[in-house]
């Protein structure tokens, strides 16, 4: 469904992504793990058009998207829940959700999607009128995911959904991620917490210094001594 072929990206002279090859199959939940500053967020930003790649190609559903603007990519059906949530903090929960549905082509789906996100995150239903900036960290993360889901994306990009959250809320968010997977939304998850990510993901990529160093299923990666030592702490 999503395919990256030999993608390079530079920040000035610094290389942020180097020969990245990555494929996400329809219906699967894949994860990219790696240390801070490895280029994980840059990878997602390149997919959704926020960063222009310098070489390589990115295609989505058989169509090349690396030259499109972010809003066009969003309309193709990629929902990006960005790093650090990036909500519209001065707007209400409901307004954020409505804006999430901005690119929704089939407006008749709106009530259904609304039920879906409030089903996953009942907390948001209780706080419809509240200003997004006044929500707790966990609630903000829920809202950010909900906003990305409201466009009924074919592919959901989740950037560090557990960042800065208490362990209990982390678990809650990851339950939601699994629920979204069961509803059939293809997801690419970027996560620093490798244990959590490997728990939910079908296939995992390890990104280090802008390069995919390794990839495989949970079972395959667990056999790698280096992964065990660096990421799983065993």
């Amino acid at each position: 469904m999503l395919e990256l072929r030999k993608v390079y990206h530079y920040y000035g002279k610094a290389r942020a992504l180097e020969e990245v090859n990555l494929t996400v199959e329809e219906g699967s939940l894949d994860a990219v793990i790696g240390p801070n500053g490895a280029g994980k967020s840059t990878l997602l930003r390149a997919i959704s058009g926020l960063e222009e790649i310098d070489r390589g190609r990115i295609s989505f559903m058989g169509e090349r998207i690396d030259e499109l603007d972010p809003h066009e990519i969003a309309r193709k059906g990629i929902g990006h829940c960005p790093e650090r949530r990036r909500l519209f903090y001065d707007m209400s929960v409901m307004e954020n959700i409505e804006l999430g549905a901005y690119a929704l082509q089939d407006k008749s789906k709106y009530p259904e999607l609304l039920d879906f996100v409030f089903d996953i995150f009942p907390r948001l239903d209780e706080r419809r009128k509240q200003r997004a900036g006044t929500l707790s960290g966990g609630e903000q993360q829920m809202l950010a995911i909900a906003r990305a889901l409201m466009s009924n994306p074919k592919l959901l990009l989740l950037d560090e959904p557990s960042l800065g959250l208490a362990p209990k809320i982390k678990t809650r968010i990851f339950e939601a991620v699994e629920q979204i997977k069961h509803e059939g939304t293809t997801t690419l998850l970027v996560e620093q917490d490798a244990v959590l990510a490997m728990e939910v993901a079908d296939y995992i990529y390890v990104l280090e210094e802008g390069k995919i160093e390794m990839s495989g299923t949970k079972e395959q990666l667990e056999r790698e001594p280096r992964i065990k030592k660096v990421y799983l702490g065993i």
Partner: protein, 285 residues
């Protein structure tokens, strides 16, 4: 004196609100300081002035509004958007554009002062003060427009997308909002408000090629005062500035000449004490 300050302060505030609202909106959306904002006033006033003999005021006013909106759309697409990555490019090009319009009216018209007759004739008396009925129209029109624009920004889909872009342009593009189009929309909206400022305020006043700078300065000082990009801030700021300048006009020791200095004093004091403005939150970029 207090009556004069109330009446003429409100009039001045109504004018400033129309000038500052759009200016602040455009800054909020694209980080664009449109130095041609005052020139939009200038060119609309001259288009109306030139076409009145042909069509009469009503049609001229419509022509003026359409023209300035078209100019704004062109400015946004052809000049601002390609240069948006270099903020210096945007200020340079809008500065040049402001000059272009000043020279344009000088060349196709003349460098002299011209008078546009008020379209609301006569005088009325309020609180014992005589004022041009035109100015009352300005106050009513400005309040109506401010309400309409506020509703538009808060309730409509386009309005919400404008607010979304001004809060977080990147996040807005991720939900599928075309930020270039939103910038153009807000620039056209700001031109429309400036156009209405001309329709309500230019008749009964003098126009000349250099007046654009003064209106730019007014819009800038109000937005610095109220907070760049803050819509409530620019409205509140407009009226506070309106009363402050009028107070200076009527204060016994001072006079109208000194009220011209109010904008710079406001800009200076605000920059030193509270750079984010009265109701602004963001750090000055």
């Amino acid at each position: 004196m207090i009556e004069e300050v109330i009446i003429f302060g409100t009039v001045q505030g109504a004018l400033l609100a129309l000038l500052a609202l759009g200016f602040s909106l455009v800054y909020g959306v694209g980080g664009v300081l449109n130095l041609a904002h005052g020139a939009f006033y200038l060119i609309t006033a001259y288009i109306i002035f030139w076409t009145i003999p042909l069509f009469g005021f009503t049609v001229s006013a419509i022509v003026g509004l359409i023209a300035v909106m078209g100019i704004a759309a062109f400015t946004s697409l052809a000049l601002i958007k390609p240069l948006q990555d270099t903020h210096i490019g945007v200020v340079l090009v809008t500065f040049a554009l402001a000059f272009f319009f000043e020279q344009f009216v000088k060349y196709f018209g003349d460098p002299l002062y011209h008078y546009i007759a008020p379209w609301v004739p006569g005088f009325i008396t309020l609180l014992g003060i005589n004022l041009q009925a035109q100015l009352l129209a300005l106050v009513i029109g400005s309040i109506a427009l401010v309400i309409v624009v506020t509703l538009f920004i808060n309730k409509t889909k386009i309005g919400k997308s404008i607010r979304a872009v001004s809060q977080d342009a990147e996040a807005a593009s991720l939900v599928g909002i075309n930020t270039d189009l939103v910038l153009m929309t807000s620039l056209v909206l700001s031109a429309l408000l400036v156009g209405f400022a001309v329709i309500f305020y230019a008749p009964g006043n003098y126009i000349a090629p250099h007046i654009g700078w003064r209106y730019l300065l007014l819009a800038f000082s109000v937005t610095i005062f109220g907070g760049m990009g803050s819509i409530p801030g620019s409205i509140v700021g407009a009226f506070i500035m309106g009363y402050a300048t009028t107070f200076t006009d009527y204060f016994p020791m001072l006079g109208p000449e000194y009220s011209q200095l109010i904008p710079i004093v406001v800009i200076l004091v605000m920059l030193l004490i509270r750079p984010q403005g009265l109701l602004g939150k963001e750090e000055v970029q």
